[in-house]
């Protein structure tokens, strides 16, 4: 499989090649979403150095455990981003990083504006995503933002927004469903 074939390879083909220790397959898997993975980790941790470590960890995990990826349960991109998000959140919630989180929140409090629209930086998708976000009720948008980009549990989100926990759960689910409908032509193929 040459580089052109790798660039055109499906997620499943790429991961099979990674299973066979094909360095260039991992490089291709990295090339596609590494920027998004790094951006998400940096957004969550507010620390570029920690974000780099998360990116390295996510791709080395793919290298060491390619069998964990199930192409029938979503795209490789969403799998890697979910891994990145989970690992970042673990780090954020750990005892040792409590201070990091407090410092991050102080930095954020000093920033003007903190909403989901400003998190979406990909120019090719920004307008579509922004339009979809505009369609969301404000409470749904804020709940998703705090959970996904803030790394907060839904109970913490409920406290921050001063809303019942059950309401926050429902709003996050409803908001994600609404976004999927609005972004049907942008969202990757899920299961």
């Amino acid at each position: 499989m040459d580089s052109d074939e790798l660039q055109a390879a499906s997620d499943a083909t790429l991961v099979v090649a990674i299973s066979r220790y094909r360095h260039e397959a991992l490089a291709e898997a990295y090339r596609r979403p590494a920027g998004a993975v790094f951006g998400l980790a940096r957004r969550l941790l507010a620390d570029a150095s920690s974000a780099e470590e998360i990116v390295q960890e996510v791709f080395l995990r793919l290298w060491n455990h390619p069998e964990k990826f199930d192409h029938e349960r979503g795209t490789l991109r969403s799998y890697l981003l979910a891994q990145c998000h989970g690992r970042s959140v673990d780090l954020l919630r750990s005892e040792t990083s409590r201070r990091l989180r407090e410092e991050r929140d102080v930095r954020r409090a000093a920033e003007a504006g903190y909403d989901l629209e400003h998190e979406v930086l990909d120019l090719s998708q920004a307008e579509r995503v922004k339009a979809a976000l505009d369609q969301l009720p404000d409470q749904e948008r804020r709940a998703i933002s705090l959970a996904y980009f803030g790394g907060h549990t839904y109970r913490e989100v409920a406290t921050i927004l001063d809303q019942p926990e059950g309401t926050v759960k429902s709003r996050i689910r409803a908001g994600l469903r609404r976004l999927r409908t609005e972004l049907a032509d942008v969202v990757g193929g899920g299961a």
Binding site: V16, S19, R20, Y21, R22, H23, L26, A27, Y30, A34, G35, A36, F38, L40, A48, E52, V55, Q56, F59, L60, W63, P66, E67, R73, G74, T75, R77, S78, Y79, L81, H85, G86, V89, L116, L121, D122, L123, Q125, V129, I144, Y148, G151, T153, Y154, V157, V168, K169, S170, I172, R173, G175, L176, L179, R180, L183, V187, G188, G189, G190, A191
Partner: protein, 255 residues
């Protein structure tokens, strides 16, 4: 925490997909997902949406890939399998079945193959090939494990789900179009040290020894060149034999 109803679990799927659940609830949802394809599909959809929100136009810092590349540099760069002389190809008959599937037709074919194998082994139409030992030296156990996983998932591979007559013992072998084969047989009982398992390939005209597996089979590599239609494992004296007179311990058709 007590068990939740399906509706209560569904209400958690959005926050689960965003990693916004506490530990106990997270574990409850994880356990539910193992047995609920519908909820798994919803979580996958939520994660695709989240992945879209995470889009960023900036590349990751260059140094990150360099560090990753440095770490993986020492890993096996490619499968060090030397293919046998000759065309070394196993002709794909059809795509491998979905994992877990095992057709009745295959079972019937295995039974038929068993009679053929016993006859062929008995008349000594075999030739010894100790290639497996060399392969196992060349490949680390970890590399074999990964290669076996990849081969079984490869849609172009021929897969043999091997069983004992009573169905109690299982092994799975996958043969790629280039002839590289991988056997996973953790279910096989450990033999005495003076005994060994031996793997055989059955062609329309011949029975070929594909390797001596030792008294304990975990994951093994082999090369199945030629028109191998099914695989058989026998128990032999340590070191293996040129011609077996033993009944098949396990067998399976490559489909």
């Amino acid at each position: 925490m007590s068990a939740l109803t399906h509706a209560e679990i569904e209400d958690l799927l959005g926050v689960y997909a965003l990693n916004a659940l506490d530990g106990d609830e997270h574990e409850l949802v994880e356990r539910h997902l193992e047995g609920c394809p519908r909820c798994r599909a919803e979580v996958a959809q939520h994660r695709e949406v989240a992945a879209t929100l995470a889009a960023t136009g900036g590349p990751a810092p260059e140094g990150v890939w360099n560090r990753i590349a440095a770490v993986i540099e020492g890993d096996a760069p490619d499968m060090p399998l030397a293919l046998p002389r000759g065309d070394g190809a196993v002709v794909p008959l059809r795509r491998s079945p979905a994992p877990g599937s095992f057709s009745r037709r295959a079972v019937a074919a295995m039974a038929a193959a068993a009679a053929v194998v016993v006859a062929l082994l008995g008349v000594g139409l075999v030739r010894q090939d100790q290639r497996l030992d060399d392969l196992q030296v060349a490949m680390s156990a970890d590399a074999l494990e990964r290669a076996a996983v990849a081969a079984q998932a490869d849609p172009e591979a021929l897969v043999a789900r091997m069983e004992s007559d009573d169905g109690d013992v299982h092994a799975t072998a996958a043969v790629l179009p280039d002839g590289k084969g991988y056997l996973v047989g953790r279910n096989l009982p450990v033999l005495d040290v003076d005994r060994t398992y031996q793997l055989w390939g059955v062609t329309p005209d011949d029975v070929i020894s594909l390797g001596v597996l030792g008294p304990q089979v975990d994951v093994a590599g082999f090369a199945a060149h030629g028109d191998v239609k099914s695989l058989v494992i026998t128990e032999e004296v340590a070191g293996g034999v040129v011609s077996s007179e033993q009944p098949p311990a396990l067998q399976g058709e490559l489909i």
